[in-house]
């Protein structure tokens, strides 16, 4: 059991650390924003508290020292500086290192920890906090105000009539309370006299305030600290969140408040009408008092509902942590189900006379589709978490290279399959590194060109059909076509005489071993990178598009939403069936023997007055037998080029559950996987980019 908790702590700590990194970077941008400082402080505090609770004393002790510094920052005694942010980021990395070391039982570099702490100490006024050695276990933190449960209080606030003369504005007190948490305010106006006898400069109102706050009763008392002598104030805790049952009945509230007695309530309950009306009719309380009590009832109900729907943060019921493997198993099972369902539908079609079977098959199809969408949806994650990791990367690299670079992100909420997101990380790192190293110029060079000194890298994600477009755009120098060409010739990737379009030149940067960087830096220039990017993206069945000018470079990655199940087109050649991703297919065109003769055997065809080359798959895969008289060409779009694939005939659309090929077949060119069809036979998934490449390089 304890192990479970420890695992939960580790998971939580990782999230907190990611959040901390975001907060720190944000703090650097807005050093004056105390809200962010508060966030940093709270995160440190939570890490420290839960670390101590689960026996991570080193983390607790270390974090305690950092927290001490942030306490000063929070109180305005220490300013936010770049140095502080850098140091805090380092500290964050140390905490992560300690967490990881604990996981695999390794030793942490205590010396490094101590040095970080020393530097934090140096920031403290007087250069030392006297907080003791970092080895000393932190005193178990007193329960922090923010860690407390939210409690609902009823506050009756009756200012003395002369309160205005002492310069106090009751509204500002109410406003202060509203800052503590959700607040329902009811003013009682019944003691206001008509104008004739009205004393305009005295206070005739009194208030019932229902406040839900985690700040504790003392915080409420603090609000009234200066008026305590001029007011009648009663504070009662009425709901501490531990009970989820129906809130108190109206009569109970009124009795508790002392507005009526239990006997009075009993007498009224004898009659049958809504209790509130009855109470007013009976003249025991006025309508206003009842309203106030009703509002209390409503406030608590709302707070409880809120609590339930939010699941009270970490330990509520609205979200649960599930191991990723379990989800993968689920998605696999759903994949199997989709396959079996396709088979069921086919059988049902064949046995058409069994109307009932057909209708059951349709029902199963509908449910399976819903189940598939839901199961895949569970694995969808917003890409924002990946994006925010790059903020740190950009910050560290740019300062290392002496450049000023700002990273802006857009579409962080765009969702992608978890496995896709994981595999996207490395390619994105490569592309961003390239932008920082080669793309963005030094501040001086930029100033000379009339660009702003600080370069910008824009990361954006946007949905487009069944894909997501991720664009990395910088406002740097752009790609140098001549340099790329020269390099490609030097590496014998192209012939010196080759005539290339701009697009083809840009695509050269993805050739293996290609790098134009004049010198090898720690960042890039080793000649690995862009080809890795291309491989990784193609592994995801995605494509890359490069645009470049003197104003900058933009690289767009088109990534399918999910890897598990795709919409595809089923085609047949001889007796074999193949599928190809529908996202790549533009159109299908009939192609007769006569057309082939017309082109004198050249493998091209005219589509709306444009020449499109095609690849005869029958020949490529050496499928025996003769092609039918009328074949079909599936025209695919890839990297802006249109290429056809000649097949016997197109069967139609198909829901393809992707199965990877066995290890034995991993090297087979032109195939990226397999799927099981409704009749139980296997269809291979065509790897369109690989087929095109192979055709281009064929003699």
């Amino acid at each position: 059991m304890q192990d479970n908790f420890i695992q939960a702590f580790k998971d939580e700590a990782r999230e907190l650390l990611a959040d901390l990194e975001d907060a720190l970077l944000e703090m650097e941008e807005n050093p004056g924003d105390l809200g962010i400082v508060g966030r940093v402080f709270r995160t440190m505090h939570t890490i420290k508290g839960s670390g101590a609770m689960f026996g991570f004393d080193d983390i607790a002790a270390f974090t305690h020292n950092v927290e001490t510094v942030y306490d000063l920052v929070r109180n305005g005694e220490l300013a936010v500086s770049k140095e502080l942010v850098t140091l805090s980021l380092e500290a964050r990395d140390r905490i992560l290192a300690m967490l990881e070391a604990a996981e695999c039982g390794a030793e942490v570099d205590q010396g490094l920890n101590d040095r970080v702490i020393e530097r934090f100490r140096a920031l403290l006024p007087g250069g030392s906090a006297g907080a003791g050695s970092s080895h000393a276990p932190a005193a178990a933190p007193a329960p922090a105000p923010e860690a407390q449960e939210a409690v609902t209080y009823r506050i009756r606030f009756r200012p003395a009539p002369g309160i205005f003369s002492s310069g106090i504005n009751p509204l500002s007190l109410i406003a202060e309370m509203q800052e503590l948490g959700p607040c329902t305010v009811v003013a009682h106006a019944s003691s206001i006299e008509p104008l004739e006898s009205f004393e305009p400069e005295q206070c005739h109102l009194f208030w019932d305030i229902i406040l839900t706050t985690s700040a504790g009763e003392d915080a409420i008392k603090d609000v009234f600290i200066f008026v305590i002598d001029d007011c009648e104030i009663s504070i009662t805790a009425i709901d501490d969140g531990s009970r989820q049952d129906e809130y108190k009945k109206l009569g109970q509230i009124l009795i508790e408040r002392g507005d009526m007695t239990a006997q009075q309530m009993e007498a009224i309950l004898g009659r049958q009408k809504r209790f509130g009306e009855l109470a007013v009719e009976a003249g025991v309380v006025d309508a206003e008092t009842v309203t106030s009590a009703l509002l209390e009832q409503r406030h608590v109900k709302e707070v409880r509902q809120e609590r339930q729907s939010q699941g009270q943060g970490q330990d509520g019921a609205s979200s649960i942590r599930v191991a990723a493997e379990k989800l993968d198993v689920l998605v696999n099972l759903v994949g199997e189900l989709v396959t079996v369902q396709a088979r069921l539908s086919m059988v049902a079609q064949e046995l058409k006379k069994h109307a009932e079977l057909v209708s059951v098959a349709e029902e199963v199809e509908r449910l399976t589709n819903d189940l598939r969408d839901n199961a895949l949806d569970i694995r969808m994650l917003p890409i924002g978490a990946t994006f925010s990791k790059f903020k740190r990367l950009v910050r560290d690299l740019s300062s290392e290279l002496g450049k000023e670079i700002e990273l802006t992100t857009e579409g962080a909420e765009t969702e992608l399959d978890k496995t896709v997101i994981e595999k996207l990380n490395d390619p994105l790192v490569h592309v961003i590194r390239n932008s920082i190293d080669h793309g963005i110029e030094t501040p001086e060079a930029r100033a000379a060109k009339g660009k702003p000194r600080a370069g910008t890298i824009r990361l954006s994600a946007v949905h487009s059909g069944d894909s997501v477009l991720i664009t990395i755009k910088d406002d740097g120098a752009g790609l140098n076509a001549d340099a790329i060409r020269a390099k490609a010739v030097e590496h014998k990737i192209i012939q010196p005489t080759a005539e290339l379009t701009e697009k083809e030149i840009w695509n050269l940067i993805f050739a293996p071993g290609f790098s134009t960087a004049a010198k090898v830096t720690s960042v890039s220039g080793r000649g690995v990178g862009m080809d890795v990017v291309k491989q990784a993206i193609e592994g995801l069945r995605g494509t890359i598009d490069v645009k470049s000018s003197a104003e900058g470079t933009s690289i767009t990655l088109k990534i399918p939403l999910t890897l598990a199940i795709i919409e595809s087109l089923l085609v047949q050649i001889g007796k074999d069936r193949f599928v190809l991703p529908l996202s790549m297919v533009d159109e299908c065109i009939l192609h007769s023997k006569g057309d082939i003769d017309k082109n004198h055997g050249r493998e091209i065809l005219m589509v709306r007055e444009k020449l499109v080359p095609y690849v005869p798959l029958r020949r490529m895969f050496r499928i025996p037998g003769d092609a039918p008289d009328i074949q079909q060409v599936v025209i695919c779009q890839l990297e802006g080029k249109r290429v056809g694939l000649l097949v016997d005939w197109v069967i139609g659309e198909h829901q393809t559950v992707i199965k990877s090929l066995g290890r034995m077949y991993q090297q087979v060119e032109g195939m990226s996987g397999a799927t099981i069809l409704g009749d139980g036979s296997v269809a291979l998934i065509l790897d369109v980019p690989a087929i095109m490449q192979a055709a281009e390089h064929a003699p």
């Binding site: 205005f164 009751p170 109410i174 406003a175 009811v186 104008l195 004739e196 305009p200 109102l205 006025d286």
Partner: protein, 116 residues
């Protein structure tokens, strides 16, 4: 010329009271006197709050008091311009907005009644 804080316009069947400026404790006495004067015309009174720049608890109380006077005198009171953002925000904050009027609101004409 500075605008008048409280301007009473006597029409044939209504007395208009336009308040321009702050409705805070500094003006409370002056406003009360003005409102009383308006009620003495015996005609229905319309208080126009569109020109109010600032309001505090005394201002809110004053409106309540005027309403109570209107109920006691049996003289119709309407309040216009109370929905202006600043004013309604303060009224909301002070917990004035309500579904049911106070004890004195026997005519069910409370100016703070809302539907939400």
């Amino acid at each position: 010329m500075a605008t008048q804080l409280l301007k009473i316009t006597k029409k044939k069947d209504v007395t208009l009271v336009a308040i321009n400026g702050a409705m805070t404790i500094g003006q409370a006495s002056e406003l009360k006197a003005g409102l009383l004067k308006a009620f003495e015309t015996g005609k229905p009174v319309e208080i126009q709050l569109a020109g109010v720049t600032e309001v505090d608890v005394t201002g809110l109380q004053l409106i309540c008091s005027a309403h109570r006077s209107s109920v006691e005198r049996g003289c119709v009171l309407t309040v216009s311009g109370a929905e202006a953002e600043d004013l309604s925000r303060v009224a909301q904050q002070a917990g004035m907005l309500r579904h049911v009027g106070c004890t004195h609101d026997v005519t069910n004409t409370c100016v703070w009644k809302t539907d939400d």
